[in-house]
């Protein structure tokens, strides 16, 4: 019997192990897929064996295959089997597989609860250790609920190794099972003063993460962290604490003020760049939160900016990057301090490192002035041409538009220049719709609001419509962005058609534009854009009609447009169809009226001989004909008369209410309340507060009460917490050096 079992094991001695598998895959480079399928079949057979040794080996191989992209969830049950092996060697393989492949949707997880609990309570340190580590990767709500106590117990294990892991794991437990936080918190706080630095570090880590999510609740721990900050020599711990303070500062400005000095000292004394950087970051956060007390902290701002300048000038690209990152934060509240380093930042725009260029770009907002805007934009456009990555190019475009349009175009001195910039940007190949839309919006915005630039803008748009290189073959695939700009171009030409009229400087561009707007490619544009094209053709036409004096010409114009519009009448897009059909009908009526008027004019001319006595009458008929035509033209253009002005978003509020209108009064009688003994009659009064219910306030005070009692729980036993005191607490007495 024993020999048979030995035989069985020996049979499987020749199973491939992990190394064999890897070697095999490397030797089958051309037929990798097929080879791996065979191996998976072998693994499936191995998993049918009774021996845990064999199964563990199989699972070890599966973990490797998972890394190559193969789903191994079908082996979930076997993984659990291997996890339950009494030997660490195999157990750890099972746990590794679990941490790599188990997730919320894995149903075998519910089979693991007891075996994990057994391992957590094992006398073998590493059994517990591997269980803790692995569990951190697949903690579910149920597991958190069932194992919270076991993990909490481990927080006070005699072995620091297990305490450390248990503390860190509690964070996952808290996330999945929030009710576990309250009972565990006391113990967690104790761990902040654990003799083992690793455990202490883990506790700091967990509390910092908790505080990030809910800063308010951890404000009371600030003094404790202050103490830690001044006594710890572990840079990781210091960094976490300082970052934590950064999150607490917005809630408690006094904390910020107290931190400036110790942080400044750290900045001067530390040689660890990572710590230095975090100190600077937090000092910046303090300065932002107390920006009202600017005068007192001018030196701190100076110190930060000075240190950041050193970082940015460093040859180490990492420091440069982080320096720029921190500068971006200062920019919001102290733009002048950043502007002093304009040259340095402009240099960074030329850096070969894209990450650094992107950082420098985001600083540009604060750098720009009326004098340097054009220079900066020119530089950015050059960058756009050289840019390799689409992401960077898109960033550049957004930035160009951003800095130009910020503060209502405050820094633009020449709008014609800006329109040309936009046109230049629109010509870029491979532009995405979002970018095209941004450009289009700018063109529209500028054309509407800046009257003086309309002539230039309209002419530019006309040129664009006539000369652009929309790729008809590819259906505009490479010019998705350009399509959006065409939308703006068509609208501007239609709305400001009058600007396209001939004058001393240029020819009349209206007819040419009109023709360009009904070229065959337009039918391939998206519906919304086509609709605009159709509608604005009519606007342009109306303008032309008004300007044209010759009757025959007018009729010709009308019939021409009628023909061109026919291609849109059968469009699949409903909006296009509707507009085209409406326009078509309108034009038909106009054409009819024009023809009649023209005919009566002609008749009047030819009738002169017959109606000799009615000289006046003949010329009246002619005059009548002209008058009719004029009136038709005027009415038509009346459809599009009136300037569209941009309206401020808050304008509605400024509109005075007409007399006697009460917006809060009920329009109809309220319905009769349902007849029930439990319902109180609903009292309504007309007037301002009629609709507002009182109930929500009760709910609000309930939750405040709950969290208040929760808060006292955490800080009740601690006499050092005199934080809320009016005097600023017993803080003054402590030394921080």
């Amino acid at each position: 019997m024993a020999l048979v079992r030995v035989k069985g094991v020996l049979d499987h001695v020749l199973d491939k192990n992990l190394q064999d598998l890897v070697r095999g895959i490397r030797n089958h480079k051309d037929t990798e897929g097929k080879y791996i399928s065979e191996c998976i079949e072998e693994i499936k057979q191995e998993l049918k064996q009774e021996s845990l040794v064999v199964k563990a080996n199989a699972i070890n191989k599966l973990v490797y295959l998972q890394m190559l992209g193969y789903d191994i969830s079908w082996a979930g049950f076997n993984i659990v089997e291997v996890m339950s092996s009494p030997k660490f060697t195999f157990k750890r393989i099972g746990y590794l597989a679990a941490s790599q492949s188990f997730h919320d949707g894995t149903d075998v997880i519910m089979l693991t609860t007891n075996l994990v609990r057994k391992d957590l309570n094992s006398t073998n340190t590493y059994d517990a250790g591997v269980a803790l580590s692995s569990l951190s990767c697949f903690m579910t709500g149920d597991l958190a609920h069932d194992l919270a106590n076991d993990i909490m117990v481990l927080m006070t294990s005699t072995k620091p190794y297990l305490r450390k892991k248990a503390v860190l794991l509690m964070y996952k437990v808290f996330l999945r099972f929030p009710d576990s936080l309250k009972p565990a918190f006391g113990r967690l706080k104790e761990k902040l003063e654990d003799p083992d630095p690793g455990v202490q570090s883990a506790a700091v880590n967990v509390i910092c993460e908790l505080a990030r999510k809910n800063p308010q609740n951890y404000l009371s721990l600030a003094p404790l962290f202050f103490k830690l900050m001044t006594t710890s020599t572990n840079n990781w711990v210091l960094i976490k604490i300082i970052k934590l303070f950064g999150a607490l500062i917005p809630l408690e400005p006094r904390l910020g003020k107290k931190l400036i000095e110790p942080l400044t000292n750290l900045i001067h004394s530390t040689s660890a760049m990572s710590l230095l950087y975090e100190c600077i970051n937090t000092v910046i956060a303090v300065l932002i939160s107390i920006s009202s007390g600017l005068q007192n902290h001018a030196t701190s701002v100076q110190l930060c900016v000075q240190k950041l300048q050193i970082l940015i000038e460093d040859s180490d690209q990492n420091l440069k990057y982080l320096g720029l990152l921190a500068m971006t934060k200062i920019l919001k509240t102290h733009p002048k301090s950043v502007q002093a380093h304009k040259e340095l930042i402009m240099q960074c725009l030329d850096d070969k490192d894209e990450s650094i260029r992107l950082r420098a770009l985001s600083l540009l907002y604060g750098m720009v002035s009326k004098k340097n805007l054009m220079e900066i934009v020119k530089k950015l456009i050059v960058h756009m041409e050289k840019a390799e990555g689409a992401h960077y190019r898109d960033e550049l475009l957004s930035k160009i538009i951003g800095i130009c349009s910020q503060n209502d175009y405050r820094f633009i001195t020449n709008f014609e220049w800006y329109v040309s910039v936009l046109v230049e940007l629109a010509a870029h190949k491979g532009m995405k719709p979002a970018q095209g839309r941004a450009i289009a919006n700018q063109l529209l915005d500028v054309a509407i609001r800046v009257q003086q630039v309309r002539r230039f803008a309209a002419r530019q748009m006309s040129l664009l419509l006539r000369n652009h290189t929309f790729d008809k073959q590819r259906g505009g695939g490479g010019s998705a962005g350009l399509v959006e700009v065409l939308y703006a171009a068509a609208w501007i030409c239609g709305e400001f058609a009058v600007c396209l009229a001939g004058d001393e400087e240029s020819e009349d561009a209206r007819r040419a534009t009109l023709e360009a707007m009904s070229l065959p490619y337009v039918l391939q544009l998206p519906g919304e854009v086509q609709a605009v094209f159709v509608h604005n053709q009519v606007k342009l036409y109306a303008n032309l009609l008004l300007a044209e004096s010759d009757a025959e010409e007018r009729v010709a114009l009308t019939t021409e447009l009628l023909t061109r519009l026919e291609q849109f009448v059968h469009s699949e897009d409903l909006e296009v169809q509707e507009r085209a059909v409406c326009a078509h009908q309108l034009l038909k009526c106009t054409a009819k009226a024009l023809r009649q008027a023209a005919a009566s004019k002609t008749a009047a001319i030819f009738d002169v001989g017959d109606v000799a006595t009615e000289d006046g009458a003949g010329s009246t008929a002619e005059a009548d004909g002209d008058a009719v035509i004029d009136r038709v033209a005027k009415e038509l253009s009346g459809l599009f008369a009136g300037e569209l002005n941009p309206v401020a978003p808050k304008a509605q509020r400024k509109v005075p209410l007409p007399e006697g209108l009460d917006l809060d009064a009920w329009i109809n009688e309220p319905p009769a309340p349902p007849k029930s003994e439990f319902d109180e009659p609903v009292k309504r009064k007309s007037g301002k507060s009629s609709g507002r219910k009182k109930e929500p306030e009760a709910a609000v005070s309930a939750t405040v009460g709950a969290s208040a009692s929760g808060a006292t729980n955490y800080s009740s036993s601690d006499p050092t917490v005199a934080w809320g005191g009016a005097s600023g607490g017993g803080f003054e007495q402590k030394e921080y050096h």
């Binding site: 094991v9 992990l18 890897v22 040794v53 990030r212 990450s355």
Partner: protein
Amino acid sequence: ALSEPLKAMIKAILIFNNHGKPRLTKFYMHYAEDEQQQVIRETFQLVSKRDDNVCNFLEGGTLIGGQDYRLIYRHYATLYFVFCVDSSESELGILDLIQVFVETLDKCFENVCELDLIFHMDRVHCILNELVMGGMVLETNMNEIVARFEEQQKLQKSESGFSAMPNRAVSTVRDMNLSQKLRDIKIPDMPSFSSLYQ
């Protein structure tokens, strides 16, 4: 809060070579296998275009895509070590951590090279588990990590009997064509005890 996705501080740790072949992948948030492979490919694309003397921080990519995350990476010989982290981590601190990870690998494997990672991925995971747990930094002291790893290796060796033979023994056995010999063994009949006490 229960339905809130687990936002890890470290979202993923990837090791891949200069051709993009993965050598270790650890995701601390759930991604299906095909998504994982896409992330690996995309990260490789982003990282491999970088010169050797630019900064070690990257923006842009699916792993990141507008959220709070950043890619922090280091290039050692033929391998890229990439950590995807959120803003709760100190960027320079993570760079140091990667260095600790690599030095630890070096100590545990004795002058570690890519082949070590290729053939002993499970051991690399064992080491990593002492460094980072569930996306949070667990230990930063190299000696402590090495000590824990070596104790676990020792434990496994002490458990090994017949079933955990070292590789050389296995290959020796393989060369003996043992399976054929086993099939040829004639097991003699054992005497039955009952006959002795008749």
